[in-house]
């Protein structure tokens, strides 16, 4: 809502500067977007064009003698519409126009020019408000030399308010004036209106729907259509509405003033003395005044002349009864329509207007007759209207609500302030809210102009905001509670700490991705959850794995020649069974540490090492692996990840077909189920006393079939080694010379300990023999 401050000052004579008013509004009422001059210019006067001759050396220019009061100036003008005998706006030498343009005496093609004749656009008034291409010709014969902005009512400031939807009252000048009156504690001066009915031409108004709460109509005759007065046009422009003609402008002006939308029908075209308001039937059609045929839904509010529809209530009039330049009589409507219905209809038909906005946010039913009378008076003054009879109406407005009861103690207990009854009394008075007080108990009477004030909390807000929230102390809640993280939140932080410690960066990607990408790296083959009406195909379905987003991160970075990407994401994944949290890891390029020229490329085992470091750090047992297959993974470099036999995730190399299509080098990904990690995480670490007796280390070189998984061999050794075998490592894998093509050699390091005594070499040798014998018998493994 844009507020003309000149207009506002008529309703509430205030003395503060526009800037101060703006900051008061922000603190006590609604956020102010800007406080600006309607026309930011200086040095403009009214001029009278005495003569206008073609420029001797330039076809498109004219040379004018312009009376500016104390002088007659020679001004060269380029506008095609300039002519003798016009009243115009002149920027004198030394004038400043919007955008900082300075006007100076100059010579244009050998003709002296002392100033400039202005168009409205040159004054910073947007073309959409005037549709004038040339200079502005002033209608009234104003005295040359007078201040042009003042004479044209353009010496105004505009306060632009960013309204919240509850404050429907601030969609009217009256409502704004009430709020300013409360802020500044000043009296209001709203105009009184009374219209004496003469004549006996009556209109009958009937309704067949509860969706029209009240409807007032009045016939006005002998209307003369012409431009509206300059002050009205200036105020409409300030409010952001284009002036059209006196009829349209007056209805808009009164709507801005009171918040009550009005509609004017061409009474002759209406061709009826009866208005019937009813609900539309599904499929019924109606031609709105933009000449479009609208198909209606059941329940849309229709205004009819008793036979056919003439307006879509609260939304738009009909083409057949539109006011034109030929119109001589009007039926003026002031009505209150159901907020929700107007909102739905206008949204559905994409016909949102200043009127529908006000109906949707609820108009003040007590302003309806005032608005009708106010407009009638303006029509009589500015459109030569003749009253030919009294208004017809029906009014089903519900009676006023019961008072709101509220105690001073409650006010202070909610705000945490220490306000006195006198203070609260004064705030309620400033707000013009009728109340009675019995000791500390208030009964406050709701008012129709503030339909947002319904509960005691609404009243507390009024007291808080008009007093100013800066008046409240800064305290902390008395509530004492034990704060902290849940086990899961804590685990999440430990995972983040471990992985960043290992050099991986954390990413956050979108939950909504392309539907075609949801199955990527996913072992969950159910239908993805889709949003009903996606904004774009790129964000249409919910992910099954964070890897969907992480893979795109690798692509984004590679496209920027950033090939070393080591990232993870802890993300929610969405399945038909519910939401689960999964950890995704992605590594590509090289991983630290590298030194100078040696930059090893990440491979399957790099990622495996990172995962094992993470699990170890979290106090979890060492995982085991089983080869798996997935369309998006390398058929021979992918494994499921098991923890004590339970699958917790997978890792693998992204299928080279996919990475080469996406111009990526080798990419390795892993996914781990966070819920399972949480379930298996030990509550705390377990302490084992440090070994007192020396341990015995033995290396073992074994030759086995190449296809035999190392894990099988290691598991077998562990089983045979028993509790005295405390550590087992692979330190070498060899294939090649001295071995046949289907063989490999594994170099293993075994560490034996006995917590009770020093192990004897003999005991260890016996164990080793037992292990080797078992391996030979079971897998045909030999010692090298």
């Amino acid at each position: 809502m844009n507020i003309s401050l000149k207009w506002l000052k008529e309703l509430i004579p205030y003395t503060v500067t526009p800037e101060k008013l703006g900051s008061l509004f922000t603190i006590h009422s609604q956020e102010v977007d800007s406080v600006e001059k309607l026309v930011d210019a200086e040095g403009l006067v009214i001029g009278y064009v005495q003569t206008c001759q073609p420029h001797p050396h330039a076809n498109s220019l004219s040379v004018c003698k312009v009376d500016v009061g104390d002088a007659v100036l020679n001004i060269v003008c380029g506008a095609p519409n300039v002519a003798a005998d016009q009243t115009v706006i002149v920027a004198l030498p030394g004038a400043r126009l919007p955008g900082g343009l300075k006007i100076e005496k100059t010579v244009i093609r050998d003709e002296a020019s002392a100033g400039m004749i202005c168009s409205l656009s040159e004054l910073g008034i947007d073309y959409k408000y005037h549709h004038e291409d040339g200079i502005h010709v002033v209608r009234d014969a104003l005295k040359p030399g007078t201040d042009a902005l003042a004479a044209l009512h353009l010496d105004d400031h505009v306060l632009s308010l960013d309204l919240t939807p509850n404050r429907a009252d601030l969609l009217s000048m009256h409502g704004v004036a009430y709020d300013v009156a409360a802020m500044l504690d000043r009296p209001l001066e709203l105009p009184n209106v009374s219209v004496e009915a003469t004549g006996d031409q009556a209109v009958t108004i009937k309704t067949e729907t509860p969706r029209c709460h009240s409807y007032y109509g009045r016939v006005l005759k002998s209307i003369v259509i012409k431009p509206s007065p300059q002050f009205m046009q200036a105020r409409l422009i300030a409010a952001g509405i284009r002036p059209i003609n006196n009829v349209v402008d007056i209805t808009n002006y009164v709507m801005l003033e009171t918040g009550q939308p009005l509609h004017a029908f061409d009474y002759d075209a209406l061709n009826s003395d009866t208005i019937v308001v009813r609900e539309a039937q599904a499929g019924e059609t109606f031609v709105t005044l933009d000449d479009k045929t609208r198909t209606l839904h059941a329940g849309d509010i229709l205004i009819t002349n008793g036979r056919e529809p003439v307006a879509l209530g609260g939304v738009m009039g009909g083409a057949d009864t539109e006011v034109t330049s030929e119109t001589t009589s009007l039926l003026l409507e002031a009505a209150v329509f159901d907020a929700i219905t107007v909102g739905k209809t206008s949204r559905r038909l994409d016909l949102r207007s200043e009127s529908s906005l006000r109906f949707e946010r609820k108009v003040d039913p007590e302003k309806t007759v005032y608005a009708l009378d106010r407009a009638t008076a303006l029509f009589m003054e500015y459109a030569e209207a003749e009253l030919v009879g009294d208004k017809g109406y029906f009014d089903h407005t519900a009676s006023t609500d019961a008072p709101i009861t509220l105690s001073l103690e409650k006010i202070n207990s909610v705000l945490g302030g220490n306000y006195s009854a006198e203070h609260v009394d004064s705030i309620l008075n400033r707000l013009h809210l009728p109340f009675s007080r019995n000791h500390h108990t208030y009964d406050i009477q709701p008012v129709s102009r503030r339909q947002d004030l319904i509960t005691y909390q609404d009243i507390i807000e009024e007291i808080g905001r008009i007093s100013g929230y800066d008046q409240l102390p800064n305290t902390l809640p008395n509530t004492v509670a034990q704060g902290g993280l849940s086990l899961k939140q804590n685990l999440r932080r430990r995972i983040r700490q471990a992985l960043t410690g290992l050099g991986l960066d954390e990413a956050v990607t979108y939950s909504l991705q392309q539907e075609a990408h949801i199955e990527r790296f996913s072992f969950n083959h159910e239908t993805p959850i889709k949003v009903a009406d996606p904004m774009t195909d790129l964000h249409a379905a919910l992910i099954h794995t964070p890897l969907t987003g992480l893979y795109d991160v690798a692509k984004h970075n590679a496209a920027r020649r950033q090939y070393d990407v080591n990232i993870f994401e802890l993300g929610t994944c969405y399945t038909q069974a519910g939401e689960v949290e999964r950890l995704g890891l992605l590594m590509t390029g090289s991983y630290h540490p590298y030194r100078w020229q040696r930059t090893p490329q990440t491979d399957f085992y790099t990622l495996k090492g990172v995962i094992e470091a993470l699990l170890d750090g979290l106090g979890l047992p060492a995982p085991t692996y089983q080869p798996i297959e997935h369309n998006d993974l390398h058929p021979h470099q992918a494994a499921s990840l098991l923890l004590e036999g339970e699958q917790i995730g997978f890792l693998g190399k992204v299928h080279p077909k996919m990475t080469s299509e996406d111009h990526l080098s080798d990419v390795y990904v892993a996914e781990i189920d966070v819920e399972t990690l949480l379930k298996m995480s030990p509550e705390h670490a377990t302490y084992k006393p440090l070994q007192k007796y020396p341990s015995v280390e033995r290396d073992l070189a074994l030759v086995c079939e190449r296809s035999l998984p190392a894990e099988t061999v290691l598991e077998a050794i562990k089983a045979q080694g028993g509790s005295q075998l405390v550590h087992l490592d692979v330190f070498d894998v060899y294939m090649g010379e001295h071995l046949s093509d289907d063989q490999k050699s594994l170099g293993l390091r075994l560490l034996f300990e006995n917590p009770e005594k020093t192990l004897e070499s003999k005991t260890v040798d016996t164990l080793i023999e037992k292990i080797v014998e078992h391996l030979h018998k079971t897998y045909g493994i030999t010692r090298r």
Partner: protein, 345 residues
């Protein structure tokens, strides 16, 4: 032969021999030559028997003193040679200390999670619990129980991604507050913050994102006040933006709170004097808040005649953008590694 002259002669011979010696191993030979059993000094002892009883002790002492002196000379030379040798070895070990070390790197938590953790820790310190909830919510929890019935115009303010007629991606983390209150059964005080992802139908551009992170807070008790809200938010503003910040509350509207306020912090670039960042107002909007609407308390099982509370909610991206001067909200979700690496752990 005069003993003193002999000894002096021997000492100067030894000194010369030591001077000529550059190798540690040679010192052993010199020691044998001058102090060994067959050394001249040892041979001199034989003359002892030719001396009188009075002369013997003096003679013995003189010889012993010379032995000690010779030993000292040899040891001094040994130390000098050892020092030389060490120096030579260290010199050979000289490296270019300006060459870089191996590329160890600590990864970075995502800046959004980093801010969430900071805020969580701040509130944990004040006795708050962290609560989370589902991102796919029912209309009832996301809207209706929060005083946003189906036709409420404020639903426009957070146009949402519906999945079915009744299920949608949550538009705020407020449903977690509702769930927590229902869990608490209407009789226990509530003191929580709720961080998480939320979704609204905004076209992605430099300042809008269809997905973003929010942190909301809720305190419900018999005596929770707007002044408590103000004090709490002042603490947050100072923790996030510096201890000299101040805040201001100005009226606003949210269906779930009444009174409702927007909270501005004094501009941390110009200290409230007005600059481009704060649009010359001296203040920057950081969050929305208010006293919990009675409707919401009742819908969540709390008797509004006994309980009252405050709630607040802030966008994590906005906080991060303000705090670090980040110019495009999409950076958070694009994860360019040049972006990720900037925010130290």
């Amino acid at each position: 032969m005069d003993l003193k002259n002999t000894l002096a002669e021997l000492e100067s011979k030894l000194t010369e021999a030591l001077k000529q010696t550059e190798k540690l191993e040679k010192l052993q030979d010199i020691k044998a030559e001058y102090l060994g059993k067959k050394a001249e000094l040892s041979l001199l002892m034989r003359h002892m028997k030719d001396l009188s009883a009075e002369e013997r002790p003096v003679f013995g002492q003189t010889i012993n003193a010379a032995k000690a002196r010779f030993t000292e000379l040899i040891e001094l030379r040994r130390e000098a040679l050892e020092a030389q040798q060490l120096e030579a070895r260290l010199h050979a070990e000289k490296i270019d200390v300006t060459l870089p070390g191996p590329n160890f790197r600590l990864g970075r938590p995502h800046v959004l999670n980093r801010i969430i953790m900071e805020i969580e820790d701040l509130f944990i310190g004040m006795g708050y619990t962290i609560k989370e909830g589902p991102e796919i919510e029912s209309d009832e929890y996301n809207f209706e129980k929060l005083n946003l019935p189906k036709d409420h115009p404020a639903r426009d303010m957070q146009d949402s991604f519906f999945i079915t007629e009744d299920r949608l991606l949550r538009t705020h983390t407020s449903p977690v507050q509702v769930r927590t209150m229902l869990e608490q059964g209407g009789s226990q005080p509530v003191k929580i913050i709720c961080p998480g992802k939320v979704y609204r139908r905004d076209e992605d551009d430099a300042t809008h994102s269809h997905q973003f992170m929010q942190i909301e807070g809720l305190v419900v008790d018999t005596d929770t006040t707007m002044a408590d809200l103000k004090g709490t938010l002042l603490t947050v503003a100072r923790a996030m933006f510096g201890e000299h910040r101040n805040i201001r509350l100005r009226p606003s509207y949210f269906p779930f709170t009444e009174p409702s306020v927007e909270v501005d912090v004094t501009c941390f670039k110009c200290n409230g004097n007005g600059c481009g960042m704060c649009k010359h107002t001296g203040y920057i909007e950081i969050l929305g808040a208010g006293m919990v609407n009675d409707f919401v308390l009742s819908a969540s099982g709390y008797d509004p005649s006994i309980y009252q509370g405050f709630a607040f909610g802030m966008g994590v991206e906005r906080i991060a953008m303000l705090k670090y001067g980040i110019d495009d909200i999409r950076h958070f979700y694009t994860n360019d590694i040049r972006f990720l690496k900037q925010f130290s752990t």
